[in-house]
């Protein structure tokens, strides 16, 4: 029998998508073992969140009314206390920025093996996790050699649970040790847009690390101009200061849905894809035929951007 405790994530008043995906992953893990799927809802408008997550497959929701927003010290203590009470086989959390901020501490406190960024879970007598390595070049399976585990799941890998259900909703209280709350969130800031709003563009020419040098950015700018497109980029280009932050596409940049997204020298890391997979048409130009970007591309050119892009510019001049 496997009991699962999944921890809901919310931000600024709404449960995040990953919470609904955790319900699907958790229900899969419980499977036909006869165990229960518990959800923990910590902080914020817990009653509203519990209602939103009253879904089929969920047996019980435990609400912890403690604070408004995410605070990892509170989360760690709450999940620890709940785990002591419920004794779950698996603790499931989202592999999000906040997930990375508390899940490892939960595992450490509870002395559980931790597997992060799961893209597949299998539970038959033991837990087997599928995950990627080497920037998605290889996949691996990892067997957990213990009865219990903490796992974070990659957002977007499981379908969001939708079917309503009737779990028991219970308020859970525990003694928060204030002396172990040693960080304070003082505010949030939105990264502003400059003069160009890439979320508005119909066509994006997007450049990645394959461009190699700052002076080569001119080449892709030229292509963008020839196509009447806007120039965007992957993260390393912004990290290097070659383009401003508001041009970055991805998890920590902008989410774009243009008619055409032309990815040039971009490998297609999961954090990048999170920002552009909704584009209507995706073109990938990359020397590596196995680059993950081709998995989501509609049109592909396996080739050297320094040869292909000049030819393409010529086509439109």
């Amino acid at each position: 029998m496997s009991d699962v405790l999944a921890v809901v994530e919310h931000r600024r008043g709404s449960p995040r998508d990953v919470s609904f995906e955790l319900v699907t992953a958790g229900a899969d893990l419980v499977g036909d073992t006869g165990g229960d799927l518990h959800l923990a809802v910590i902080g914020g408008d817990v009653d509203a969140f519990a209602e939103a997550l009253s879904l089929a497959g969920v047996d019980a929701i435990h609400t912890v009314a403690e604070g408004d927003e995410f605070n990892h010290d509170v989360y760690v203590q709450a999940v620890e206390a709940l785990s002591e009470e419920l004794d779950p086989t698996y603790v499931l959390m989202g592999n999000t920025v906040n997930g990375l901020d508390y899940a490892p501490a939960v595992a450490e406190r509870l002395d559980l093996p931790l597997v992060t960024d799961a893209i597949g879970l299998q539970n038959d007598g033991g837990l087997v996790v599928t995950r990627e390595m080497y920037a998605s070049k290889v996949e691996s399976t990892v067997e957990v050699d213990a009865d219990r585990a903490a796992v974070t799941v990659r957002p977007g890998e499981w379908d969001a649970a939708e079917e309503p259900g009737e779990p028991a909703v219970e308020a859970f209280s525990f003694d928060l040790d204030e002396s172990r709350v040693r960080s304070r969130v003082t505010g949030f800031e939105e990264v502003g847009s400059g003069d160009v709003d890439i979320t508005d563009a119909d066509v994006l020419v997007s450049v990645g690390r394959g461009i190699e040098e700052q002076e080569n950015i001119e080449l892709v700018q030229e292509l963008a101009d020839a196509l009447g497109a806007t120039l965007s980029s992957s993260r390393p280009i912004v990290d290097n200061g070659w383009l401003p932050k508001d041009r970055q596409v991805g998890q920590s940049g902008k989410v774009v849905t243009p008619k055409f997204y032309i990815a040039i020298g971009i490998s297609g890391a999961v954090q990048h894809v999170a920002g552009m997979k909704g584009a209507e048409n995706i073109v990938a130009i990359n020397t590596d035929p196995d680059a993950p970007i081709f998995d989501i591309a509609d049109y592909g050119i396996v080739g050297d951007l320094f040869e292909v892009v000049p030819e393409l510019i010529e086509q439109f001049e």
């Binding site: 508390y102 490892p104 093996p113 691996s140 393409l312």
Partner: protein, 265 residues
């Protein structure tokens, strides 16, 4: 004040590669300092440079002798000295889990007694993204993950950080010291090592530590995770590929773009 930076030599896999059992065959691996650690090293060195007090920057790595070459690059960029944990017991381990890394690094922290620990958000090879926060919990430091701005107020005993959340939102957080911060790329501009720095690095210490030096035994590196399979993922691509030389590829793509109204004058 002392700043400890965790660094890792990671292997990058070449475009074409073959697997050898549970590993990528050695000849297809290029070793380099983990991208995220470059930024953590730079942040630590800047803290030392900007402080009026004496700040020592110590790098710690878990890695075989081969990694010394990579670690020396951090020394060339201003890290004062390094500690390298390795042991025969680690030789045959395919996958060192977060718990094992935490046990090793905790022992080093006990020895070094730092005021601040900086790590990268993740290592680019196994990408667990968990060591820093796990370590913080084990050594009872406060922490913050995915930090893209840091303003250290050592006298006030706090670090004011920005955490980079999803969707272009940043969280402003006050973190009590001592703390572990996991550093995100882009927080600074990592410098290139100067010739003088490279020369100086040759005489800086990289102290090897075995498990017994840390008061640990082989049980410390026993992993709860067993790597059972490594394989190339099947491509899910249903893309239309344009073949031929660059000119032909570009012409075919141009046709599709024009058909769909892109770039049509």
């Amino acid at each position: 004040m002392k700043v400890l930076v965790t660094v890792k030599e990671v292997a990058e896999v070449e475009e074409d590669f073959e697997l050898d059992g549970l590993r990528v065959a050695d000849q297809y691996l290029d070793y380099d300092l983990n991208e995220w650690d470059e930024y953590a090293v730079e942040e630590a060195v800047q803290i030392a440079e900007e402080s009026d007090d004496d700040v020592e920057v110590v790098a710690v790595t878990i890695g075989p002798e081969r990694s010394e070459e990579t670690i020396r690059m951090a020394l060339a960029k201003g890290v004062d000295r390094a500690v390298r944990v390795w042991d025969d017991a680690l030789d045959g381990v395919d996958l060192l889990d977060v718990g094992a890394k935490t046990r090793l690094l905790s022992a080093v922290v006990e020895e070094e007694d730092p005021d601040l620990v900086l790590t990268g958000v993740q290592a680019n090879d196994d990408s667990f993204g968990a060591t820093g926060v796990s370590l913080a919990s084990a050594i009872d430091f406060e922490w913050a993950a995915v930090v893209n701005a840091l303003d250290l107020d050592a006298d006030g005993g706090v670090a004011n950080v920005r955490r980079e959340l999803e969707g272009g939102v940043e969280e402003l957080t006050e973190v009590d010291l001592p703390a572990v911060l996991t550093i995100q790329t882009g927080i600074n501009e990592p410098r290139y090592a100067s010739l003088r720095g490279i020369r100086q690095a040759q005489s800086k210490e990289i102290k090897p530590l075995a498990l017994s030096d840390l008061g640990l035994d082989a049980a410390a590196v026993e992993s709860d995770l067993v790597l059972t399979d490594v394989y190339e993922p099947e491509t899910e691509s249903d893309a239309t590929y344009f073949e031929g030389d660059a000119g032909e590829q570009a012409a075919d793509l141009a046709t599709v773009l024009r058909e769909k109204g892109v770039g049509a004058q």
